[in-house]
């Protein structure tokens, strides 16, 4: 360093070099960027504090939650109110992911490794467009167009697979039904059931998972793919031995992003799902499920006092839920990260 300094000093005028301290632009930029970073932290803290603070009345008044949400039920409590919505939220999100992940991976692999270059670009663009469609539009489309179309499929599933799968159902604290039979029960039209909501949710999370997975797959080192090809791998074997192992943590991260969206998605669920508050695994039955987010949206306009506090408490639960899922995702990504 000292030699270059000396060289600079001799080649440029001494006065520029001697001007000590940091340049104004540098300090301004560093203040701005630190400030932006802090802002994120502050916003998150503000949300957390608001949620906790406002739920206190409901937490303290757990014996006498005598608002209209309690519906004058005898054993009404914070837990008995929130638990079915947690159940509904997780079930809907899980179903959506189960449908979206395989399709997303297929599309992502097609774009990154199978499609001709021009087609891949067009397809990628369309996926991004799909991500930009507002959820209220999905809600309209799902509720008005898709739901009636699904009716024959549901009837068929109900008739043929009505007893599948038949392992014992289990919901902590509350019991639940003796058997998990997803397609059992008594579906009635219009099919504004959890299955319909999950399908629309799947369409909504598909672009995120696809876009992130595609990026990861495209980053597979060329040299690794060529190594497999030179050993006589077919295209599928290249994907299996090189691309998927390389992209595994990225796919997990992508799925968790999708899960985050599915958990918090409000509008589409609100517009499609006929709500109910049970622990039913019968996803074809109407009026059995509701998600936390859609419940808050549908009730908050009429709520006040302890009811409002109760709704905010469910919001806190959702906040914590997404927090935990993000933490798990980060842990998985860190653990399975490719060392190179």
């Amino acid at each position: 360093m000292s030699t270059t300094d000396a060289a600079e000093e001799s080649s440029s005028s001494a006065s520029t070099l001697r001007r000590g301290g940091r340049r104004f632009g540098d300090s301004l930029f560093s203040v701005l960027s630190i400030g932006s970073g802090l802002l994120i932290f502050l916003t998150l803290a503000a949300v957390a504090i608001f949620l906790t603070n406002e739920s206190v009345p409901a937490l303290l008044a757990s014996e006498e939650l005598a608002g209209f949400l309690s519906n004058a039920e005898p054993d009404f409590s914070l837990i008995s109110y929130t638990a079915p919505y947690i159940f509904g939220t997780i079930l809907a999100a899980a179903l959506a992911l189960a449908m979206a992940i395989p399709v997303s991976l297929g599309i992502a692999l097609f774009i990154s490794h199978y499609a001709p270059r021009r087609m891949a670009a067009g397809l990628g663009y369309m996926i991004d467009l799909l991500a930009a469609v507002p959820s209220v539009v999905y809600g309209l489309w799902g509720g008005i167009w898709l739901v009636p179309k699904l009716e024959p499929l549901y009837t068929l599933l109900n008739e043929t697979l009505g007893t599948f799968p038949t392992w014992p159902g289990f919901v902590p604290w509350v019991g639940g039904e003796p058997v998990v039979a997803l397609f059992a029960g008594d579906p009635t039209a219009p099919m504004n059931n959890l299955a319909s909501a999950s399908i629309v949710l799947a369409v909504m999370v598909l672009p995120i998972i696809t876009a992130v997975s595609r990026e990861v797959f495209l980053q597979t080192p060329r040299l690794q793919e060529e190594a497999a090809l030179a050993l006589g791998a077919t295209r599928f074997e290249v994907v299996k031995t090189v691309v998927l192992p390389f992209g595994r943590s990225g796919v997990v991260a992508a799925s968790m992003l999708g899960l985050g969206r599915a958990l918090g998605e409000t509008m589409a669920v609100l517009m499609i799902l006929a709500p109910g508050a049970t622990f039913s695994f019968h996803i074809l039955e109407v009026g059995r499920h509701q998600s936390i987010a859609a419940n808050i949206a549908s009730r908050q306009a009429e709520a006040s006092g302890v009811d409002m506090s109760l709704l905010i408490f469910t919001g806190l639960v959702l906040f914590v839920l997404t927090f935990i899922i993000n933490a798990i995702a980060r842990w998985i990504v860190a653990r399975s990260g490719v060392k190179s």
Binding site: R117, P221, L223, E226, A227, L229, G232, V242, F246
Partner: protein, 261 residues
Amino acid sequence: MAAPQPINVDSLNIYYGDFLAVEDVTVQIEPRSVTALIGPSGCGKSTFLRTLNRMHEVIPGAYAEGTVEIDGENIYHPKVDPVNVRRRVGMVFQKANPFPTMSIRDNVLAGVKLNNRRISKKDADELVETSLKGANLWEEVKDRLDKPGMGLSGGQQQRLCIARTIAVRPEVVLMDEPCSALDPISTLAIEDLIHELKESYTIVIVTHNMQQASRVSDRTGFFNIAGTGKPGHLIEFDDTQKMFTNPENKQTEDYISGRFG
């Protein structure tokens, strides 16, 4: 196995899209020997090497015209599956590229498992040992076969890649500047290995290092281009001894004596 036959390349033109990269190569590569390809950067020697196992065409738009006969069979015949060609003609790359998610053992077995062959644990153990011994790596890694291949040094990784290549028992091994990222000691280890490998395999090696070409090869081919954007040509192909002492062509002489390149 029948007596090994030479690789016959006949009027091969190699393209990247519309661009003719290498023009009209006709050459016969002797079996069970080392053939070195030398020439300045961009002359098409690596491109030519990659046509010998149809790896050239994995680049979008790239293709080759002409015939390459290996074991009497034209690998560019329309009915030939490039996947099968690559199982017979192995390749070692410029940078060592073991599979990062696999152990040393799994790296050696990767090709065998790809080719859909079921292999018993005992056979697999034997194959791992013979392949690693064949690549002069066994003594260094025998106690840590389950450790990741990426944990080895650069030279060891390159020998692991050679072990992986010979584990599928190819007829030909192509090497694309296999020592260019290695230190002199590791380079020497690979060169010694090449000497041993030519007992069982036909080896074609691209190298930027003319000393290396003269050390390891029996025959040498010199590629050159007339200028940027012009196709590369195989200028001269002869015994290494003759190429480095008394080349026929002026361009070869200039390149070898260090007047350009």
